[in-house]
Symmetry: C2
């Protein structure tokens, strides 16, 4: 494989809440997503999910706390924990999770993105 320039790949990501795959490690994927506004409450029953903020700021709301993340900060949402990402302004995030994870988890709907799309 070639090396991946995260900034270059971000320029290829269209729209919000539609993660695009940029690399695979074993059966895990690294995905870039642009976020703005409210996502939906959902959870991933089988896996943790990593958020690393590459640019901007966002929040991850959970039932008992809200985590605020700025550029250079990361958080691991534990598997099975209901969460709702939110970004007041456009925010760019590197996600790490197993291949096959759908962005809306158990809450399929309008914001469910096509899976396994690479940039």
């Amino acid at each position: 494989m070639a090396k991946v320039n995260i900034g270059d790949k971000l320029s290829l990501v269209d729209g919000f809440w539609a993660p695009k795959v940029i690399a695979e490690m074993n059966d895990y994927q690294f995905k870039l997503a642009k976020m703005k506004g409210d996502f939906v409450w959902h959870n991933h029953v089988d896996t943790d999910e990593v958020f690393i903020v590459v640019k901007g700021s966002m929040c991850i709301e959970m039932k008992h706390e809200t985590i605020s993340l700025n550029e250079g900060e990361m958080y691991v949402v534990p598997k099975g924990i209901m969460h709702k990402p939110y970004a007041a302004e456009e925010c760019h995030v590197l996600l790490v999770e197993p291949r096959g994870v759908v962005n809306t988890g158990d809450a399929e709907g309008q914001l469910t993105a096509e899976n396994d799309v690479w940039v």
Copy 2:
């Protein structure tokens, strides 16, 4: 868990070539390492290994090519591929790999770091 500020964690990493764990996702770990000079040729027979350069520049020498990585770039070393990291100047790297992976892989020696040490 709390959120992780990658810059803050880097300030707690002492020495070179001694990765420190900052987060876990399922059975995978995120580790920070400071690199300078030559590492040893080695491979990880059971797993891919991800390098994400947080600050500085480094190279990953392999038998048939050398990958040069700058800040904001990543590379996935495929499992079983012999590689030798090198950094002319101090470089800070986020590694992602399964829990239990030893930094020198199959080439245990002076640069083998204690495993599973958190900062």
